[in-house]
Amino acid sequence: MAVVAQPHDPSDGHAITQTHAEVTRDVVATLGPPSRGYLLLLAAAVSLFLIGILTFLMLIKDGLGHAGYNPPIFWSVYITTFVFWVGIGHAGTLISAILFLFRSPWRTAVYRSTEAMTVFAVMTAGLFPIIHIGRQWIFYWLLPYPNQRYLWPNFKSPLIWDVFAISTYLTVSTTFLVFGLIPDVAAVRDKVSGWRKMIYSWSSVGWQGTDNQWRHYSRAYLYLAALATPLVLSVHSVVSWDFAVSIVPGWHGTIFAPYFVAGAIYSGIGMVLTLIIPLRRALKIEHMINSYHFDNLAKLTLLTGSILFYAYAMEYFVAWYSGNIFEQTTFYRRAFGPMWWAGWTMIICNAFVSQLLWFRKIRTNLTALFVISIFINIGMWFERYVIIVSSLSNDYIPWAWGQLNPTWADWGILAGSFGWFGMWFLLFAKTFPIVAIQEIKEMIPMPRRRGGHG
């Protein structure tokens, strides 16, 4: 007999002590009737989403004048929120694909919820460029399709790269999520009855877990992870080039691609923590997602937060070292100009708060982690706000400088985006297994008759 999995040592704190049957039972139990708290949260998310819909209807009726666009700032809250949500998605793919290739055992318990977060975050982000373009009903002009004017998109523009990057990312991450769900939906199908069984049977597309199915499935999963890995690094790089390829002071930094990718993963793990700390309690899966997983998530936050710290420092250093007065003025005004409060919110929430995670006591304290995760979410939204709005607000000549005054239309759409995201995530958590049944089982050695464990 070749490689035999070593028995888990229960003393190492993160061993999976459950049997296969217990894993199925506990995960299927999360799909039971919703609690009052869940319904209240869902109602809150739907209400926020309706606020977004109403604001959007006003934007369609009257135009973008409702939003706080003001020369020279024509990219503001919508683009900020677009970058914010795209960034959120990146942690999910990092955990589901990159850590799969690295064979990190702790990813298994959290990967399904983070991959779902990715899909819904990118779905949210994808709405923003469409809202931002003004005449939303002709958004398809972005795509290369034969038309009566014989025009094609300008493929030298980073904005069209973004169209391709975001739509590929949405498609591939949705595929990865749905593909991973198939064996788990089959496991749920075999446990429920009535109309639910019918729906899960249909969704499991005839999955029986035969050797032939697993043979193709496992290989395909590996290749999907291998394709998603460079994709996730490319998507936020392309988003950063929306800025870095231009010549606006504060935007055209060569550091932007890695800086944005690190920031994206940092913000995404912040959102993961915000979501799964309450979720694991609500769904009674505390024994499946425990301090071992949070400790590792927090270490990843610390790593990416420290990369951000370095990137912030380097931005200021390069601005000073360049000797370029426009660059220097932009960065001086970020810290001491009219938007100093936004600049310092970004630096404190991202660079400094993440440094608290050097302490193991904080990494394993869920209340502390939850509070830190809220700081991360706020800090990362402000990072994009600072980069986009403050860079545009001081152009080359002081005569052209201006300030942004966000209006109800900006806040309405921002609130709506949280509602839209929350609504999908909550619906997903009660409809599909939020912990990957099959992948957890793969890590638990099956019982044996002779010797070993069982």
Partner: protein
């Protein structure tokens, strides 16, 4: 331990006749697979709740052909990305200061994204093709095969049922059921 119930998934009249056994221990299932393969039963169907290396090794499968589809899909996407951008640039030339009409560096982004997109989609299409459309039909199933039991289905005719049942039980099967056409 009467959990082997008749599957409703396969329509009547298309069932493959044979024996289906369930195992609760992975080493017992591996023993049974090896013994059956030694006796010449090579078209077994083995059900597991999760992929299992010991069973994969016992079955001596070749590597899945899915990888070929990933490669072809990726190369198609890459070619399509560069072909589309270059052709469209020449179809409506945007002349900027004597610079090349088709600029390769920016088109790398489109070529890269389409490589990933087509590679991923053709990978999934290949799994649908091999696992669903070309998969074995009419084989029995039991709900516990997705929970904690390993199943082995031996397609066979009536005169062979006795010896195979003995083999499965002596290997450690928890239960054996006859599957008729």
């Amino acid at each position: 331990m009467a959990f082997l119930k008749r599957s409703k998934s396969a329509p009547q009249g298309r069932r493959v006749p044979g024996l289906v056994a369930s195992f609760l221990h992975v080493d017992a299932a591996v023993d049974a697979i090896r013994a059956l393969r030694a006796k010449g039963y090579r078209n077994l169907v083995v059900y597991t709740p999760a992929p299992n290396h010991e069973i994969e090794e016992a079955l001596e499968h070749r590597v899945s052909p899915v990888r070929l589809f990933t490669l072809i899909g990726g190369l198609t996407g890459c070619t399509a990305g560069f072909a589309m951008t270059i052709w469209m640039s020449y179809d409506w030339p945007l002349l900027v200061g004597g610079k090349p009409i088709a600029a390769i560096p920016p088109y790398v982004v489109i070529g890269f994204e389409l490589t990933i997109l087509m590679g991923a989609l053709s990978t999934v299409a290949a799994v649908a093709l091999f696992s669903v459309l070309m998969g074995k039909r009419g084989v029995p199933y039991d709900p516990r095969f997705s929970d904690d039991a390993i199943g082995i289905f031996v397609p066979t005719t009536t005169d062979q049922l006795g010896p195979i049942e003995q083999l499965l039980l002596s290997a450690g099967a928890a239960e054996v059921r006859h599957e008729t056409a």
